[in-house]
Structure formats: C-alpha cells, structure tokens
C-alpha cells in the first residue's frame, strides 16, 4: 500500500469516526471534540494532497481550517455554557425542546 493511500485511508477513517462520535455520544462537549476530530481528518487529507502535488494550496487551506476551527470553538463553547446554565445538565436529551 502506497504512502498516499495509507494516509488518505487514515483521513477517511478519522472523519468517519468523528461523524460516528457526533451521532452516537450524548455529552455535548464530547460531540464538539468529535467535530474537531472530523476537521483533523480533513486536514490530514489536505496535507497529503499538498505533499503529493508539491503545491502550497493545500497548506494554505490547512491554515484557513485552523482559523475556522478556532472560531468554531470560540463560538460553540459560550453556547454550550449558556445551555448548561439554563438546563443544568450536559445531556443532549435535555435540549430536545430546541427542536422547535
């Protein structure tokens, strides 16, 4: 198995595991962490392609994803804190009245 295929398979596996975690776990913070894992999988695929092509585009996109991840966590954490303050729990099933 070539290096590229190995790394891309790892990236796919990390993304899928993160998605499974978002679906399956019921702790809000753990769901957020699984989303970070999905972003890491995407980053790995971008770095692999950039390495294979020898172009800097993939690395630039990785940096933009770093910024997006920081912004995402900066906005998600206050929302989680607000929800926990209102519901007094981190259990996802306490928030079902948000369905609208």
């Amino acid at each position: 198995m070539g290096e590229t295929q190995l790394l891309l398979s790892l990236a796919v596996a990390l993304f899928a595991l993160g998605l499974l975690g978002v679906i399956v776990r019921r702790h809000v913070l753990i769901m957020l962490m699984c989303m970070e894992l999905m972003l890491n999988g995407v980053n790995l695929s971008l770095v692999t392609f950039a390495h294979e092509q020898g172009s800097t585009v993939g690395a630039v996109l990785v940096f933009l994803i770093f910024v997006v991840a920081a912004a995402e966590i900066g906005i998600a954490i206050p929302i989680v804190l607000l929800l926990v303050r209102r519901k007094h729990t981190v259990d996802l099933y306490a928030y079902t009245d948000l369905k609208g």
């Binding site: 070539g2 962490m33 997006v68 929302i79 981190v90 259990d91």
Partner: protein, 175 residues
C-alpha cells in the same frame, strides 16, 4: 536487521503514528469521562502532528501542536473543568442512535473508502512533489491568497462579536 529497520524508519514511524491516531480516535468513542476523551483527542492531534513532520511540512506540524493542542484543547479542558464533569444526569454514554449510527458509519466508510481507493490516480512511480519550504509557503500565502487571509480576520471578528452577544443574552436572562 538494524540497517533494514533504519532504512524503513520513516515508513515504520508513519505506521506507528497512524495506528496511534486511529487508536486514540476509537478511544474517544468508548471512554466515559470527558477529560479522558479530551486527552485521547490531544494524543490523536499530536500523532497527526508527527505525521505532518514526517511528510516534511514542519511548520504545519508546529501549528498543529500550537493551535490545536495549545489553544483549542486547552480551552476545551478549561470548560470541562468549569462544568461539573461528574454530572450524574449524563450517566449514559450513548444516545438512542447507536445502531443506526454504526450502520451509517459502516456505509459511509465503505462508500468513501471505495471512492478513495478507486479514484486515486495510479501511482506513476514518480517521486512525490518536492517538499515546499516555509519561505515558498509564506510567499504564496501573502501574494496569491492575501484576500482569503484577510477574510479569515473578518471571520474571527464575527466570532468574537457573536461570543459577546451570547454572553449578553446570558446576562440579561440571569439579571
């Protein structure tokens, strides 16, 4: 024996880091305490940083550790400390969607893995493109992609404003 190990040291390390990252990702799904999940995620990120270093993009490896482990995960660990982790109301680990979730996971993995496997251009035997250095990256970053760089600063400002707005809502509700 030792010579052959040294000859394939890079591939060996790549496999070790890959297996480590995969194991940490699986551990994230089964561990119960949020703090342990955070530690598993941190180890996965450090393993990925090692892979980036092996691929020759050392500055991305450094920023992976600095930004992800140093900023994002420290923030996350801080919030875990702030919330009571021994919250008894969240005793169940998995939601009701375990079985459909795992089925969807297997389907997704199969489709995506098959797509990656089939559509990957055949390895032409050509060596991977020459690794680019920090200088080349910085020049292309600030000459070709400066607009995107500026747009991310707008995104960060929006995130800060939104976070402050959320805090204002919280303050208004609780006097």
């Amino acid at each position: 024996m030792i010579e052959s190990v040294l000859l394939h040291l890079e591939t060996l390390l790549l496999y070790i880091f890959g297996i480590g990252a995969l194991t940490s990702a699986v551990l994230m799904l089964v561990l119960r305490q949020p703090m342990r999940v955070a530690l598993a995620l941190i180890s996965a990120m450090v393993f990925l940083g090692g892979i980036y270093g092996l691929l020759g993009v050392h500055f991305i490896a450094a920023f992976q550790v600095l930004i992800y482990v140093g900023a994002v995960m420290v923030f996350m660990v801080y919030v875990i400390m702030l919330l009571d982790v021994r919250d008894p109301s969240c005793s169940q680990r998995f939601s009701r969607l375990v079985v459909p979730g795992i089925l969807a996971f297997l389907l997704f993995l199969g489709v995506l893995g098959y797509g990656v496997w089939r559509d990957l251009p055949p390895l032409s035997g050509a060596s991977p493109g020459a690794a680019f250095g920090l200088q080349q990256f910085a020049a292309s970053f600030l000459q070709e992609y400066w607009l995107h760089f500026e747009l991310t600063s707008v995104l960060l400002v929006v995130a800060v404003v939104a976070a402050i707005a959320v805090i204002q809502v919280s303050r208004r509700d609780h006097g």
